[in-house]
Symmetry: C2
Subunit: 231 residues, 2 copies
Amino acid sequence: MATVPPAHLTPRKRPRQARATVTVDAIFEATIQVLLADGPNRLTTTRVAQRAGVSVGTMYQYFPHKQALLYALNERYLEIVAEKVERACEAQHGASIGQMVDALVGAYWEAKTVRSDVTRALYRSAVELDTESLIEAFGRRVDAATAAMLASAADADFADPSVVNTTLLTAIFGAVRSVFERNLPSALGGEVRGQLVVMCRSYLEAVKKEPERAAPGGPATANRTVIDDAG
Amino acid sequence: MATVPPAHLTPRKRPRQARATVTVDAIFEATIQVLLADGPNRLTTTRVAQRAGVSVGTMYQYFPHKQALLYALNERYLEIVAEKVERACEAQHGASIGQMVDALVGAYWEAKTVRSDVTRALYRSAVELDTESLIEAFGRRVDAATAAMLASAADADFADPSVVNTTLLTAIFGAVRSVFERNLPSALGGEVRGQLVVMCRSYLEAVKKEPERAAPGGPATANRTVIDDAG
DNA sequence: ACCTGAACACCGTTCAAGT
DNA sequence: ACCTGAACACCGTTCAAGT
């Protein structure tokens, strides 16, 4: 169903005893700390192990290599974000598209902002091709949640719901990342967040099918032309 | 005026003789090739030097360290993108906001897509804090170009042009990056591109000041509430 | 079952020597 | 002015030995 993570990135073994769980948690915590304090370039296995209070060898019992560690860290993080978004979407079933957009942007923004330092550190830790499968899985999961939500909207109906949904998410994911990446001052960030809601709302209004009277001119056609192109 | 790049990332010296220029170009070219073929993790100085047909020592004459090399590569690339966007914006002065959005999204999308493999490789090569200054400078430059363009619009006027402009760019930059990152099939990517235009257009329509009659209800208020919050 | 840390291969960076 | 490549410090990863 969902994409299986590449085998070489899977943890070598799962902790079975209590002290092992403690060890693994300590390693995760240490990784975040080193990432924040020293940046991804100075994130060395020895440094992480030292900070976690274990030997390198111990680390390699659970993670086959450094990349697997960062992979697991991102996985853990995306799991939390995905859950929050899913919950927010479920809570909006049957609501208006305006409320849906509010809730969706709000939940995603909030999830990324609670620990904005961690978010930024993780955005940068994502080296090498292999996070693609993670991000894809995350994207598909959120796609499903928002698609179901939009399909239940009380006040709108879309000609090509899947494209509309993907566009919406692409814009939201991207805008949020862009704010982090450009390191906008938080006041400006807040304004952009509000404007992002306005943007998504007006987009959905523009592409929704008119309920009664067909309006051949006007903004609704902008939608049709695009969809037609793709056949 | 613009942010000065961090001193430690500046090339050590500029090529003076013809053969030196050839050397530097070869190094850049080799870097891209290694990046594409082996990924950022296997991008080693020796490998780049070998592919460029020079010794490591030579590389270090022009770039104080590996990061400086990647920094210069990104710089070179963003320079090209910025120029294309600037030209597109200038060409639209006095046009309608609809045309502006078309041209802006078109130019940016095109610039990123001509060599989508290079674009993706560079998105991933941007490790460590130090690309922030590059991205900031790039952002400010494009900000200026689009702000001037929007200010000249024949059919619209905005209460807070700077926030509107930042939001627009944040969404466009982000959406494009998101498409690359999620590795959407190019057909779907094309559809998203078209929808992105629709989204930006309807956003600008929603936040523009009404020319004559003040409409206290309706979509225009969504704009006002947000701006007011930020005081 | 879990942990240790010396040992090995490899990478980033330097610098004395060459044209 | 530009180029070379052996040399050094450090990092990722392993594995024999310990509890």
